[in-house]
Amino acid sequence: MSEQSASQKSINLQRAFSKEWRELAIKLVLFTCALLTIATTVSIIYVLLEGGLDLFEYVTFSEFFFGTEWSALSEPHSYGILPLLSGTLMIMFGAALIALPLGLASAIFLSEFATDRQRKFIKPSLEVLAGIPTVVYGYFALKFITPVLAVVFPSIPVFNALSAMIVVGIMVMPMVASLCDDALRAVPGSMRQAGYAIGATQFEVTTNVVVPAALSGVLASFVLAMSRAIGETMAVTIAAGSTPKLTGNPLEGIQTMTAFIVQAAKGDAQHSGALFASIFAVAGVLFLITFVMNVISNRIMRRYKETYE
């Protein structure tokens, strides 16, 4: 009798044990999945460092970071990143000039003025816009925006920074609108009521109460939009041209960091030393800038979440 129960017990124990094992194994597998994202980050950093540092066998640090001539694809080679960086920043500022006011205005309209029916129509439309592939925006810029610009500025070249700025601005605008809308709607209604109660108009409530209260969310969306504009590739590759130039004039053709990477990778860059390394180095700088901006944006966003929840 007691023997039987003992064996029963051991079977149960065994079952429990194997069950335990299974649970552990499952947990381990799932954990590995989750770790994959960390592995991605680590390998991005490793790959960019490993490939990019090769470039400094050919040029010095100061030549790369402070050189004003970028000519990686044609003789004589020179690898000064400033022209690419200035091109990228120019696109970013131009796009910000369009996307930030438009996006914030749309968000204010959506959260403060729109009726539920208008909201139901406009919000999904903005989401659809955000889903249009960037290569399509590039086509818009080249085929429709540049010809319109050519009417205003007859001397504008086919590939110019201005059309790319405009189109990248239009492209990131829905994201700004959507994030700002979330931030503005997170401001408690009681704060608006308090404003109206002391006799403020809708304009005054919006600019003096709602927007300041949501400022961190709004700023976070701005930073994120600019980071998106920096990383934007196809639209600027198609529209802005491929002539790296240290210029402040948006009516000229320029090249951004992303556009250079595409141009170089499209050619036969697979085996030649300095050019191949320069792709990684430029990508490294690009990654660094966007990463810092994303971290800043996330920090700001986190702070604003804590305030109203």
Binding site: V29, L30, L35, I38, V47, S106, I198, Q202, L224, M234
Partner: protein
């Protein structure tokens, strides 16, 4: 406080403030509307590209240089020569001054291009389904054969394609029709009577032809479309299990601690990394280190890493939305943690997870830059047959064609955009369908 207060009580001030408020409101409205209208206009422009002809193609009617008597014909004479009902068999039937010789008629009728023949039939007989003369006439498969036959006899007349004519223009002469000479200007203005308007729009031919590098009229999206579908399917296969796995871990297993916070922050940062950087990662890891080369699987792995952060976030939200009571009920009945997740949490979360996945996949479809870097190429000559094949993708065709200067490629790019947008719309439609069905079930 009161001295800084922007709203002081005076009637005049109040009207002014109200006016400002109104102006502000309408500024916001007009900015929103103008942004939407602008994009609507851009999209309409793309769709309207197919409505106007991108080029005009005039068909030359030629005789050999040895033919000394004819330089021009009227359309009536042309009909008399070529149409099945035409009465002219000898040149003298047309004009008594012309020699009493039989007219030899040549033309071409390509099997793969029915439209060219039909177009000429229509121009001559006035009826698309009409017929050309068969007696005294020979129709070859290729225009160069027509040229050879024509040069044998001064009493022959033929029509060829513009390309063949321009290569042989020293040996033959093109006739004026109704007094209009065969010149490029007359073709472009459609003054020349036998001028065809060339269009490109999305039709069956466009979907089933491979891309052409020289002739926009023959180009299609078959290879890139199949490539895109392969890529999306493989990306889904790779990213879905990984995303669901990490979402389950983060939502159901991970304790609130340093590691899970770190993973969370990492995911949100990864979501902001430019897609082109993933391309570089794919190039270094999958293309070179794993030696997968420029195959579909390299592209799919790269895209999977790219969309993983978004899919994980969406899946987590779906899993979090499953009521806690469901888990408790399962656990109370004696199931262990994994059973509760597998049999109860996951099935309820699945529609939400699916929606998130499909929306991320539609982002993946539009991605171009990372795939250019890992080796998608427009020059690929066959549709991929497996994960290790080379491939091309739809957005790449759009990119390549929008740069081309030859007539028709801008329109071809627009047509490819239409195809891409339709694929996206379909995917989004599926996502919305799933979401709606799921919501109905809950209520």
């Amino acid at each position: 406080m009161s001295e800084h207060s922007p709203w002081q009580h005076s009637a005049e001030n109040l009207t002014r403030r109200r006016r400002i408020s109104k102006i502000f409101k309408y500024t916001c409205i007009s900015m929103t509307v103008s942004a939407l209208v602008l994009v609507a206009v851009l999209i309409l422009q793309v769709f309207s590209q197919g409505l106007s002809p991108y080029d005009y193609e005039a068909t030359p009617f030629i005789v050999s240089n040895e033919n000394t008597f004819v330089d021009a014909l009227t359309m009536d004479q042309l009909q008399a020569i070529f149409s099945a009902e035409g009465s002219a068999r000898k040149w003298s039937d047309l004009n008594s001054n012309w020699p009493d010789e039989y007219i030899k008629i040549y033309g071409f009728q390509r099997e793969y291009d029915e439209n060219a023949h039909k177009f000429i039939t229509e121009k001559i007989t006035g009826d698309r389904d009409g017929s050309l003369k068969q007696k005294d006439a020979t129709y070859f498969e290729y225009p160069p054969q027509v040229m050879n036959a024509l040069l044998d006899s001064p009493y022959a007349i033929a029509y060829v394609d513009p390309h063949t004519y321009s290569r042989n223009r020293s040996r033959v002469k093109a006739l004026s029709l109704d007094g209009v000479a065969y010149t490029p200007e007359n073709a472009d203005s459609e003054a020349y009577p036998v001028t065809e308007e060339k269009f490109i729009f999305v039709d069956w031919d466009f979907l089933t032809s491979p891309p052409s590098s020289h002739d926009a009229g023959e180009t299609g999206v078959y290879i890139p479309l199949i490539g895109t579908l392969w890529l999306v399917a493989l990306t889904a296969l790779i990213s879905v299990p990984l995303a669901i796995g990490s979402a389950i871990y983060l939502e159901e297993y991970a304790k609130q601690g340093r590691i899970s916070t770190f993973i969370e922050i990492n995911i949100s940062n990864l979501a902001g990394v430019p897609s082109i950087v993933y391309g570089i990662l794919g190039l270094a890891v999958f293309y070179r280190t794993f030696g997968l080369g420029n195959s579909v699987i390299t592209g799919a792995l790269t895209l999977s890493l790219l969309i993983l952060p978004v899919v994980i976030t969406a899946s987590r939200e779906a899993i979090r939305a499953v009521p806690q009571s469901l888990r408790h009920a399962a656990l109370a009945l004696g199931s262990n943690r994994w059973q509760a997740i597998w049999y109860h949490v996951l099935p309820s979360a699945l529609p939400g997870v699916m929606t998130g996945i499909i929306l991320s996949l539609s982002r993946a479809i539009g991605e171009t830059a990372p795939l250019i870097i890992v080796g998608a190429a427009i020059s690929v000559t066959s549709a991929p047959g497996g994960p290790m094949s080379q491939y091309s993708i739809l957005p790449l065709s759009i990119y390549e064609w929008s740069d081309r200067q030859e007539p028709g490629f801008a329109e071809a790019a627009a047509a490819a955009i239409v195809v891409l947008l339709v694929v996206l719309l379909l995917l989004n439609g599926i996502a919305i369908f799933i979401r709606n069905r799921y919501q109905n079930k809950l209520s």
